[in-house]
Structures are given as structure tokens and as C-alpha cells.
């Protein structure tokens, strides 16, 4: 009986190890990632508008229907990235994601950047060059350091009234997303 209890206890310990291995391996083993769900993500340096979220329609990215969304992929191995443009006087936010869906950086218009989005994304090496003033950038550019090269930025623009949505989508389309200097 005691021996059986020891075997069961060993099973529990082994189970805890299995659990830890599963939790650590899951991100690498996951068959789908957010990247694969985003339409138009293959093309870098291009603003893509996401379809509006409406009742009854699939919402695989778990988006809030209140917002209009623009997304842009930037490959930092081709140079630092920037997303710039004017945005209306409503709540908006921008998040920079790594390919695995982790949020590298995020901010909102309430943090003092007012009606202009001026976001620069640099990898570690480029940040060092920037510190040595070897990369010329516009004054006022918000500097963000990314640990990875393949990133995408998502701009969320709150559209509280349906009548403004078409105009807001035009505004999002007019944003510039590119590698600095390209």
C-alpha cells in the first residue's frame, strides 16, 4: 500500500513537470498565431484597414466594434520604422506587436501626443546608432525600441458615431507607414 502511494506521489510530481513543460512549450507549439489571422499582413509598409466588427459576424481578432482599425507591418531589418499622420480629436491608441502577439509598446492620444501620431520604431542596434546621432530623425518622433525586427503596428480609432466611420477610415488610410529613409 505504501509502495503504491509512493508511485502515485511520483505521478503527481511527474504531472507537475509535464504541466510546466506544456506551459513553456505552448507558445512554440501553438498551431495558429495572431499573425496568421490578420489579412494583408504579408505586405510590409502598407496600411491595411481591418473590416468593421458587426453583430453576428465572426470576430477572430477579438476587436471592439467601437473602433476603426488600421494595421501595418514593418521589417526593421530594412531600417527603422515610422508610423506618422494626423488623427482626429477622439480617443485613439497605437500598439506595436511582435509576431507572436506580444505587445512591445502601446500608448494613447491622452499621453500628450495630441492629434498627431509620430511613432518611430527601432531595433536595439538602431537605437544605439540613434543615440550616437547617426540616424537622422524628425524632431518630436516618439522613439520606441523593439527587441524583434518583424513587427506590426495597430492603430485603434474610436468612432462613437456611425456617421464618422467612413471619414475615420479615410484618415487611417492616409497614415504613412514605412522604413525611415525609404
Amino acid at each position: 500500500m505504501t509502495r503504491t502511494a509512493l508511485w502515485i506521489a511520483a505521478g503527481v510530481v511527474l504531472g507537475l513537470i509535464v504541466h510546466l513543460v506544456i506551459m513553456l512549450m505552448l507558445p512554440a507549439l501553438s498551431p495558429k498565431d495572431v499573425w496568421q489571422k490578420i489579412p494583408g499582413i504579408e505586405t510590409a509598409n502598407t496600411i491595411t484597414l481591418l473590416d468593421p466588427v458587426t453583430p453576428g459576424s465572426p470576430n477572430p481578432l477579438a476587436l471592439d466594434p467601437l473602433f476603426s482599425y488600421a494595421i501595418c507591418r514593418i521589417d526593421l531589418s530594412r531600417g527603422p520604422g515610422e508610423v506618422v499622420g494626423d488623427l482626429p480629436n477622439t480617443f485613439w491608441s497605437v500598439a506595436v506587436y511582435a509576431r507572436d502577439g506580444r505587445v512591445v509598446y502601446s500608448t494613447t492620444n491622452r499621453s500628450g501626443t495630441s492629434g498627431t501620431l509620430e511613432l518611430g520604431v527601432f531595433n536595439s542596434e538602431q537605437t544605439q546608432l540613434l543615440a550616437r546621432q547617426e540616424i537622422p530623425v524628425e524632431e518630436g518622433l516618439l522613439i520606441v525600441q523593439s527587441p524583434v525586427d518583424d513587427i506590426f503596428a495597430l492603430i485603434r480609432l474610436a468612432a462613437p458615431y456611425p456617421v464618422v466611420r467612413a471619414r475615420y477610415r479615410d484618415i487611417l488610410s492616409a497614415l504613412t507607414c514605412r522604413n525611415i529613409g525609404s
Binding site: R3, T4, W7, I8, A10, G11, V12, L14, G15, L16, I17, V18, H19, V21, I22, M23, L24, L26, P27, S30, K32, D33, V34, Q36, K37, I38, V53, T54, P55, G56, S57, P58, N59, P60, L61, A62, L63, D64, P65, L66, F91, S93, A95, Y97, D100, G101, R102, V103, V104, Y105, S106, T107, T108, R110, S111, P147, L154, R156, A158, P160
Partner: protein, 191 residues
């Protein structure tokens, strides 16, 4: 023979414990990585640049566009304040106050995350559009059938979840213990 039986028992226990704990760790039952306020559950580290391993596994499993820490925090409730699963044949009153944020939204979704609001009605409740008394409390009724007060109409059959998103609530997103109170979800009867 006894050795084989014991070995089989050990492996069975290991698999049940290993996979069982892993499943629970990725749901709202997870004691690690989640923040629970009444029936509401959030993963506060989900928008952090370097989330903990449990949140990282949750991120991989969800594979959705999470909100960054500065953008806000998303709470999900699959039960009412008494712990009973939310049912579309019942009427619920969302009653109480929300933490300080730029604004908030409330959406009813099915198990696949599809918005179950009436297609030609309000897709969601936006906090700023709500009449609020001086104490800042809110009162919203969620049901398929006409309800008094501020009514958020939903459709269909079966269980559902409520998603409450607080935008620009950066004070809270990194400091979970500071979210002291969220609105209660009260069942007002079922059809």
C-alpha cells in the same frame, strides 16, 4: 505484474495532473496570471512586453489582438455575481461603478467571440453614452426581451459572456490589486 500496475497508475496520474492543470491554467480558473473581481476575470499581464509564462501560454492559445497596457484592460464574465453561467433566456442587471478610465465598453459575445447584439441595434454599450447619476454608478439591463432603463438587446440561445473593456486605465493594468470594484451582474429572472 504489480510493477506494471503501479507504473500505469503513475503515468495516468502524471498525464491527468499535467494536462488537467495546463487546461485549467489557460481558463478563467487559473490562479496564476489572472485578476478576479467578482464575476469578472482579466489577464493583466497580457499587454505587457514580457508577460509571465502562464500569460504567454494564454496569449498563444487565444491568438487575438490584445490591448497594450497603456491602452486598457479587458475583463470577461461568463457567470453572474452568484456564479451561475450567463444564459440568453435570462435578464441581467449590470449594476455598480466602474474604475476610473477614459471610457469603457460592454459587449455580449458567444463562445466564439461573436457579438450577439441585435444586428440593427446597439453593437455594444459605451460608457459615455449612458445616463449616470451623480454617484457615477451605472445600471444596464442585458436581455433578449424589452427591459426597463438602459436596455442592451441580445439575440440567440444558450450561454454567453460579457466583455467589459476599460480604456486608458493604465493606473490599473499593471497594478491588479488596485481594481477594487466592478459592476455586479444580477440575474433578474429567466423566461
Amino acid at each position: 505484474m504489480r510493477f506494471v500496475v503501479n507504473l500505469f497508475a503513475m503515468l495516468t496520474v502524471a498525464l491527468v495532473v499535467g494536462f488537467g492543470l495546463s487546461y485549467l491554467a489557460l481558463t478563467s480558473w487559473s490562479p496564476v496570471g489572472t485578476m478576479k473581481v467578482g464575476p469578472w476575470v482579466a489577464w493583466p499581464e497580457v499587454g505587457a512586453p514580457e508577460p509571465d509564462p502562464y500569460t504567454n501560454a494564454y496569449l498563444a492559445r487565444q491568438a487575438v489582438l490584445q490591448l497594450g497596457r497603456s491602452e486598457g484592460i479587458r475583463f470577461v464574465a461568463g457567470t453572474d455575481s452568484d456564479g451561475r453561467a450567463l444564459d440568453r433566456n435570462c435578464r441581467y442587471r449590470i449594476d455598480g461603478s466602474t474604475p476610473v478610465a477614459a471610457f469603457w465598453t460592454l459587449i455580449a459575445v458567444d463562445a466564439k467571440g461573436v457579438d450577439i447584439a441585435r444586428p440593427d441595434g446597439m453593437a455594444e454599450v459605451v460608457g459615455t453614452s449612458l445616463p449616470r447619476p451623480a454617484d457615477g454608478s451605472i445600471e444596464v439591463r442585458v436581455s433578449k426581451r424589452l427591459a426597463p432603463g438602459y436596455w442592451y438587446e441580445i439575440t440567440g440561445e444558450g450561454r454567453f459572456s460579457l466583455v467589459l473593456t476599460l480604456y486608458d486605465a493604465s493606473i490599473f493594468s499593471g497594478l491588479g490589486s488596485q481594481v477594487e470594484k466592478l459592476p455586479a451582474i444580477l440575474n433578474e429572472g429567466c423566461a
